[in-house]
Symmetry: C2
Subunit: 240 residues, 2 copies
């Protein structure tokens, strides 16, 4: 047990969640390395939710509420770090969770699914080898015909590489959470939340709870006034 | 197999070495996360050996050659990433390798020892529970009475936390390799090489081969002119 008074309590607690995730067969060793990269960027960003991230979270809440068919893409790290919040978000905006992992493993997909269900998720989809996202080669190209393939807005936190780009090319709007504002995913997404998923998810959920009282025009206004490029640039400045 | 033409060939090859190290029981899951942190800093430093690192490598070579009793401290990540170079360095300057891991595991210590021997190491010491480094609490306080405890110079690459500081307080000179110039180890060491161990080790070995032709006064001169604080500051600027 790490004492709550420890200056790095949250960081160490988060790290433990990922290590436990690997032991449970939910997260992968590549996921651990990716987590370490995230830790370094978080450290440089001050390990707090910066103003630029708050702006992106607000825009993400508006986009999730305006979406006709929102879907939440879940990989091993997201499932290990924020299962409860993923379940809550899914139930709140009626967006199915869709499992998607880099290294092909049906066993791991099923473990992630039951992990999410245990935390209260009602709709969890798995990729189907008969259905593919265009412009992608790896195992991550497979998708559910009832989920990402039909989605107009995809929330893909902690995404690595070229999948965000492929989703954008397929005409979808993409929201991501990424601690590295220089990454390809961060650069390509419609809305990039440069923050730790552990801090960002509760804020996104409470923004959605608040914004759900607004009418659609007000939500559209929020989105219209949001400039992802500007906040990406601010986050890069904050890093340096 | 990753093709050599891949733009991230070295980075991916290095990552594979660590993942293999975990599978072999040499590196730990915390080691994987630490490797990810290193990757992020390496990325920000341009994934190359910068001039400040070359200067530190030269000073480290001089200090290793001037040492009366140099010892090389080896953890799971170092053993996984550079076993051949650790063995070469050890044999070149007659410095024993001493295994030291954070989480207590005699099994892992023995695995690291035989891994290093397989790569040509002749002198590999293990910590002895009857001997301790002062000013330390974790498992890393244990040391060999024939190694670190007797050493005047300790080479401790990829060190995490407070051990470098404890060694310094015990009157030893400490050389480290650390991609994060802001880390406590980087800040406390006598000589800090801000570079990837995979790139730094071969350069350190060739510097020692060259400097071994010099007389002691010339080596002392190199050390006298070396300013660790200055190169640390340069590496921090390069990061931002």
């Amino acid at each position: 047990m790490i004492p709550k008074s420890h200056p790095r309590y949250t960081s160490l607690r988060t790290r433990n969640l990922i290590v436990k995730g690997v032991k449970k067969g939910i997260a992968s060793m590549d996921g651990l390395i990716a987590h370490g990269r995230g830790e370094a960027f978080d450290y440089l960003l001050g390990e707090k939710t910066n103003e630029f991230a708050e702006e992106s979270i607000g825009a993400a809440a508006a986009l999730m509420l305006l979406a006709k068919k929102p879907v939440i893409s879940v990989n091993g790290n997201t499932a290990a770090l924020a299962p409860k919040e993923l379940a809550r978000l899914s139930n709140l905006v009626q967006a199915p969770l869709e499992v998607n992992v880099f290294h092909p493993s049906k066993k791991r997909e099923l473990k992630i699914k039951s992990h999410l269900k245990k935390y209260g998720a009602k709709m969890v989809l798995l990729p189907d080898k008969n259905y593919k996202i265009r412009f992608l080669e790896s195992n991550r190209k497979y998708a559910s015909p009832e989920g990402i393939l039909k989605a107009d807005v995809v929330f893909v936190p902690l995404e690595d590489g070229d999948r965000a780009e492929a989703l954008i090319k397929s005409g979808k709007k993409v929201i991501t959470v990424d601690l590295n504002p220089l990454s390809r995913t961060a650069q390509k997404a419609t809305i990039t939340i440069v923050d730790n998923i552990v801090r960002a998810m509760p804020l996104l959920i409470s923004s959605i709870r608040e914004y759900r009282k607004y009418d659609k025009n007000k939500l559209k206004e929020i989105l219209k006034n949001y400039d992802n490029k500007k906040f990406l640039e601010e986050s890069i400045s904050s890093l340096r």
